[in-house]
C-alpha cells in the first residue's frame, strides 16, 4: 500500500508541474525603428497559471539582443521562481545599429520541466536611408557594352550628401557620377570598355550621414557568362 501511495505521489507531482503554465500575451513583437534610433525594446507580458513556474534561462540568440525579466527582486537580481497568478514581463533590448530591413531576433526561454524552449521574437523594421537601385549591374559576357545606371536615392527626412566616390576597376568599368538633387538623388552611369572578358568591380560611396551604417555603401558591376547550370526545382 505504501508503495502504491509513493507511486501515486510521483504521478501527482508530475501532473502538477505539467499543469503550470507561463502564458504570454504575444510571442512576437514588431517595432518600426526610427532612422536615428539605435536601441529599441520589445516587451512580452506574461501571467503564470496553474502551479508555479521556474525560469531556468532566458538567453538571447544574438549578441544584439539582451533579455531581462521584470519585476526584479529587491536585490535587483532576476526573479526566476514564479507563483500561480503572478504577472511579469520579459523585456528584450535590441541593438539595431548593424541592421537594415526586417530582422527577427529571439529570446529563448527555458522553463523547468518543459522540454521545448519558448521563443520570444522581436521583429524590427529598420529603414535603409541610402538606397541603390539596383545595387549590382551585370553585363553578359560577349553582349553589347551598353551604358547602365544605378540610381541613388535618399529616403531620410533630412538630406544625406555623397561626399566621395571611388572605383577599384575604372579601367574596365569607367563611370560617371551625377548629382540630380544634392542630398537626395544621384546617378552612377557605367559603360564597360569591354564585355568580351569576364570582369568585376566595385564603386564605393561615402556619405556625410551621422549614422554609422549609412556612412558607406557599395555598388557592384560585373560581366559574366550566362549560368549554364539550371536551378533545380527541388528547392522550396
Amino acid at each position: 500500500m505504501n508503495c502504491f501511495k509513493a507511486t501515486a505521489l510521483v504521478f501527482v507531482g508530475m501532473g502538477m508541474s505539467l499543469s503550470a503554465r507561463m502564458v504570454f500575451e504575444t510571442k512576437l513583437v514588431e517595432i518600426d525603428v526610427k532612422p536615428d534610433e539605435t536601441f529599441v525594446t520589445g516587451e512580452f507580458p506574461f501571467e503564470v497559471t496553474g502551479g508555479g513556474e521556474t525560469i531556468i534561462s532566458y538567453d538571447a540568440l544574438c549578441s544584439c539582443l539582451a533579455g531581462r525579466v521584470e519585476p526584479l527582486l529587491p536585490d535587483r537580481s532576476a526573479k526566476l521562481s514564479w507563483k500561480a497568478g503572478e504577472k511579469g514581463v520579459i523585456k528584450a533590448r535590441f541593438d539595431t545599429s548593424k541592421f537594415l530591413g526586417t530582422v527577427d531576433k529571439a529570446i529563448e526561454l527555458k522553463l523547468k520541466g518543459e522540454k521545448e524552449p519558448i521563443h520570444l521574437t522581436v521583429r524590427v523594421n529598420v529603414p535603409d536611408l541610402v538606397q541603390l537601385t539596383p545595387s549590382t549591374l551585370k553585363w553578359d559576357k560577349g553582349s553589347e557594352a551598353v551604358e547602365k545606371v544605378i540610381k541613388v536615392k535618399i529616403t531620410h527626412s533630412e538630406p544625406i550628401k555623397i561626399i566621395s566616390h571611388s572605383a577599384n576597376n575604372e579601367k574596365t568599368y569607367p563611370y560617371e557620377f551625377k548629382t540630380i538633387k544634392e542630398g537626395w538623388e544621384y546617378e552612377i552611369r557605367v559603360k564597360p570598355t569591354d564585355t568580351a572578358q569576364s570582369g568585376m568591380g566595385m564603386i564605393s560611396l561615402r556619405t556625410d550621414s551621422k549614422i554609422s551604417k549609412f556612412k558607406r555603401t557599395t555598388a557592384y558591376v560585373t560581366t559574366k557568362p550566362k549560368l549554364k547550370m539550371k536551378p533545380l526545382s527541388g528547392a522550396r
Binding site: N2, C3, A6, T7, L61, C62, S63, C64, K98, F99, L100, G101, T102, V103, D104, K105, A106, E108, H119, T121, P134, S135, T136, L137, K138, S198, M200, M202, K213, R216, T217, T218, Y220, T222, K224, P225, L227, M229, K230, P231, L232, G234, A235, R236
Partner: protein, 152 residues
C-alpha cells in the same frame, strides 16, 4: 518504502536492458536533425535536399560569428554575418559570386531561432539575387544539421 525502491530499481534495470537490446537490433540512434521538406518555412531547405544539388553550384554562406566560422565553417564558405559591418563582409561574397557564378546560395547559422541566416539570406536576395541570378536558401537546422551529418 523498501518495496518501492526495489520496484524502481528493477524498472531502471529492465529499461536499460530493453535499450541495449534495441541498440543491438536497430543500431545506433539517428542523430540527424529532423527536417520535413513539406513543412518548412519559406526559403528554408533540408540538408538532404541540398545533397541532391550539384556541389559546384552552391556557395555556402556562414552567418555565425567569425570565430565559429574559422573553427568549423563549411569548406569554401564565405563569412557574411550580422555581427560585423555589412559593407566589410559583402565584397568577399560578391567577389566569390562574380568570379565563380553559382546558381544557389545556402546560408546557415548556429541554431533554429538565431535569425542571422534568415537576415543574411534576405539581404543577399534583395540586393543581388536578381542581378546575379542566384537563389538563396536557409539551411534548416543550421550548423547542427551539418555536424549531425558528419556524426551519422
Amino acid at each position: 518504502m523498501k518495496g518501492f525502491v526495489i520496484a524502481l530499481f528493477s524498472l531502471v534495470i529492465l529499461s536499460g536492458l530493453a535499450g541495449l537490446v534495441t541498440w543491438r537490433i536497430v543500431g545506433a540512434p539517428d542523430r540527424s536533425i529532423p527536417c520535413d521538406p513539406e513543412n518548412l518555412p519559406a526559403d528554408h531547405v533540408c540538408l538532404s535536399t541540398i545533397r541532391e544539388w550539384p556541389e559546384e553550384g552552391i556557395l555556402w554562406v556562414d552567418a555565425r560569428p567569425r570565430a565559429e566560422w574559422e573553427k568549423n565553417g563549411v569548406q569554401g564558405s564565405v563569412l557574411v554575418n550580422d555581427v560585423e559591418e555589412w559593407f566589410e563582409l559583402e565584397p568577399e561574397f560578391m567577389m566569390q559570386m562574380m568570379g565563380h557564378p553559382r546558381p544557389k546560395v545556402v546560408v546557415y547559422c548556429n541554431q533554429e531561432g538565431c535569425g542571422s541566416s534568415k537576415y543574411v539570406a534576405n539581404q543577399l536576395r534583395e540586393r543581388h539575387a536578381m542581378a546575379l541570378g542566384f537563389e538563396v536558401h536557409v539551411l534548416q537546422g543550421g550548423i547542427k544539421a551539418l555536424l549531425a551529418e558528419k556524426i551519422n
